[in-house]
Symmetry: C2
Subunit: 192 residues, 2 copies
């Protein structure tokens, strides 16, 4: 286990509390006082680690996004065949969205609102490069449709966000079978 200083522990608690509260109530109903209480910390302590509320959510966003992409590419190797690489990345992303549901919900909310300021959002996008490179190669090898990265993402990766939210809100249970179906849909919409 990594050695965590007392400060890091407190900071992590604040990050976790922010995610949980923003997920369940939204930015507008996640006051600093509640975040502090949930992290067992004084409101004033937050300002030892973050400049202000905006800085807090920006930093949480960047960190969660980084954790997400690190997880997504962990078992991927750029030397893999395009088909195998895509399947591995896709399934890691699916894993993350279903297992680290809180984090993924937070990202979805950030990506669909003006909650995060633009520089932080840009920062979050950079990490996706390995997937874009893989697609580039897939297009060159004639294995992937010659579409814009935005369209490829919209039809292969992004649907997972919708399914995750549907699952979280109830009324839909995403089983292993569903996952395999979803993967087939994803691949069939981008493969040549």
């Amino acid at each position: 286990m990594a050695e965590l200083t007392k400060g890091e522990i407190k900071r992590n608690a604040l990050v976790k509390a922010t995610i949980e509260l923003v997920n369940n109530s939204g930015f507008h109903a996640a006051p600093m006082s509640k975040i502090a209480k949930m992290a067992n910390v004084s409101p004033a302590t937050i300002y030892l680690y973050f400049e202000n509320k905006q800085d807090l959510v920006n930093q949480v966003y960047i960190e969660v996004k980084a954790a997400f992409t690190e997880y997504a590419f962990e078992t991927f190797d750029p030397k893999m065949e395009v088909e195998e690489g895509f399947e591995i990345i896709w399934k890691r992303i699916a894993d993350f969205k279903l297992k680290e549901c809180e984090e993924a919900m937070f990202l979805a909310q950030c990506d669909n609102t003006p909650m995060i300021d633009e520089p932080s959002r840009q920062q979050g996008i950079k990490h996706l490069q390995p997937l874009l490179d893989l697609w580039e190669r897939g297009k060159n090898e004639g294995k992937i449709k010659p579409l814009s990265d935005y369209i490829l993402y919209a039809y292969s990766i992004n649907p997972l966000s919708f399914l995750m939210i549907a699952q979280k809100r109830g009324g839909f249970q995403l089983t292993e079978d569903h996952l395999e179906e979803a993967y087939q849909s994803a691949w069939s919409s981008i493969k040549k």
Copy 2:
């Protein structure tokens, strides 16, 4: 043109102002005073038309959602063949998301945050029934994959939301060609 009473005009201005402000700043930075100012109305006047702020966004959500689905199904007829029906609905939805960008952005934000309370959200879902019925028929006729409605929606309709936001945020221009490609991706991921 429909005859609008003075009250209806004021109410519409409030709805429009709410959409614009929430889109650009988020719920947390869209105070009643600004909404009122943008609608050229006194803050107190808002309370003649809406109970409170939550009621305001709930009502806006329900109305925009209703306008969206009315537009989506306007040229659709349940007697159509499944393929034709789907294409027509899909393209109407695409139209709406690209032309009525403000309204569509607002819906995307509502659908991905706890901004709207649960009853209002349920209310908004109901309108999609014609599409679900079409899919049901498509499955029975062996034209559409026997997948959960959630997965069908995630892979055929929802990607449009992602593309719309990407377009709005810049860096991506959704041309007519792109649209046709997107439609083909949508159809190929749900057709049997």
